[in-house]
Amino acid sequence: MQDFGAAFGEAFALIAGLDAGLMEIIGLSMRVTFSAVLIACVIGLPLGAVLAVGRFPGRHILVVLVSALMGLPPVVVGLAVYLMLSAAGPLGVLQLLYTPTAMIIAQAILVTPIIASLTRQVIDDLHGEYDELLRSMGANRVGMIATLLWDARYSLLTAALAGLGRALAEVGAVMIVGGNINHVTRVMTTAIALETSKGALALALGLGIILVGLSILVNAGLMGLRKSAERLAYA
């Protein structure tokens, strides 16, 4: 039990000390996470909408597949990306292994199915309401998807936040493709894993508390933005 107390102490000391190393790690964590979620949104939102709206052969199989890929094991994604980017792999020449870019790629792969699958559900529900109207207006598929995504934007934020949570917490994939190299690819989660394996449990928990704190800040910020946007909407 004293470990928990110690953990809060560690967390507090780290923050109060404005530790430069910690700031570097937090900065990289944020950069990697936001980049990955951004990419996942750019792919996942339209993909989810197409899965909800489209009527093409194989759609059901694709829906099941994307949903199943929410269960992609991070270590497997890490390995697959590693094998692609490794010097011996097909994309080795890009020299991306053990860089933040590799971590972003791996996380984007993990998060995209989550955002696509949740988007599909949200858009499906709204589509039930809008479908006949939009078709009666002669809207084409692209216009239809754009309308649905826009009008569902407040609900879709939750999908994005779910993806963000996954990316923020993820360690298995970034560990493999980033290598947890100090000052280069060390992020909060890999640092936590490292301290855990050193047996520095209080420090690891302290870092975890800081990470959860960051997650709260980000969520509060984005939800606050949504609230004020909702209020100002209808311009």
């Binding site: 991306l96 053990y98 860089t99 290598g179 100090n182 490292l194 855990t196 394996s197 050193k198």
Partner: protein, 260 residues
């Protein structure tokens, strides 16, 4: 990613968690970088994974502790040559209650036999790492057959040294570890060294340059500079100087007998 030429001067070392967790690199590398201007990026993973990564050319230098696997690596042409760098030793740690009554022993075979007889829980890494292979060899030389014990008193954790120590502490099991990891380990929870000092528990670390003939991307010059420095007087002194809570963790032994 970052292509500024100043930052291009780096090498990747594939290594094991024991060296990283102990803090050795944090003490060693700044000295080297200050002198040479070469940044060293350490990827610390399981020994098997480190060797595999090096085989895939995803590193310039390999620094691990699994001598036979290292020699195979060189023999297969993946590495240029192997040199001893340093050593320490393995120890068996256990709970203060010492259910198998092995504390204070310096005879590992007898100690293992006692543990087995008492059916006292024993945590094994079970991950084919250098440490794991060493442990299996010790059981064998003690004449103990482990088949059927796994999942009972003998528990294979299938994870790294630190994780296995955490597990052992969590369930009150004996566990074999390298001394460096143990000294630097933070979650000791009343555990102490039970068995140490047997000649059979020697732990040798070696360094290998990944073969640039096979891996075109290997920075041959930079990695040679690094290896030479580690093996040099200066590097060896730095290793000897590294202390944790006043205790020396690694003992340099380069040049005792380089083998290729």
């Amino acid at each position: 990613f970052n292509t500024a030429s100043a930052e291009e001067k780096f090498i990747v070392v594939q290594s094991t968690t024991s060296t990283q967790n102990s803090g050795l690199y944090d003490a060693l590398l700044p000295r080297f970088t200050a002198k040479s201007g070469i940044e060293v990026r350490v990827v610390a993973v399981g020994t098997g994974q480190a060797i595999k990564n090096a085989q895939n050319c995803d590193g310039d230098v390999l620094l691990v502790h699994a001598k036979s696997a290292e020699e195979k690596f060189v023999a297969a042409g993946h590495g240029v040559s192997r040199s001893d760098v340093m050593y320490n030793d393995f120890i068996i740690v256990g709970p203060a209650s010492d259910p198998a009554g092995v504390a204070g022993s310096n005879d590992v075979k007898t100690a293992l036999a006692n543990i087995q007889r008492a059916r006292a829980p024993f945590a094994s890494r079970g991950d084919d790492s250098g440490t794991h292979k060493k442990e299996l060899a010790l059981w064998e030389s003690a004449g103990i057959d482990l088949s059927g014990a796994s999942g009972g008193w003998y528990r294979e954790t299938g994870s790294g040294m630190g994780a296995t120590l955490n597990v052992a502490v969590g369930m009150g099991a004996y566990v074999m570890t390298d001394r460096a990891t143990w000294i630097a380990f933070g979650n000791k929870a009343g555990y102490g060294i039970a068995v140490e000092g047997d000649d059979d528990m020697f732990n040798q670390y070696g360094v290998i340059q990944v073969n640039p003939k096979i891996c075109a991307n290997v920075k041959a010059e930079l990695s040679k500079t690094f290896i030479n420095w580690v093996l040099s007087k200066e590097g060896q002194t730095a290793i000897a100087d590294f202390k944790f809570n006043g205790q020396q963790l690694f003992f340099p032994n380069a040049g005792d007998k380089p083998n290729s």
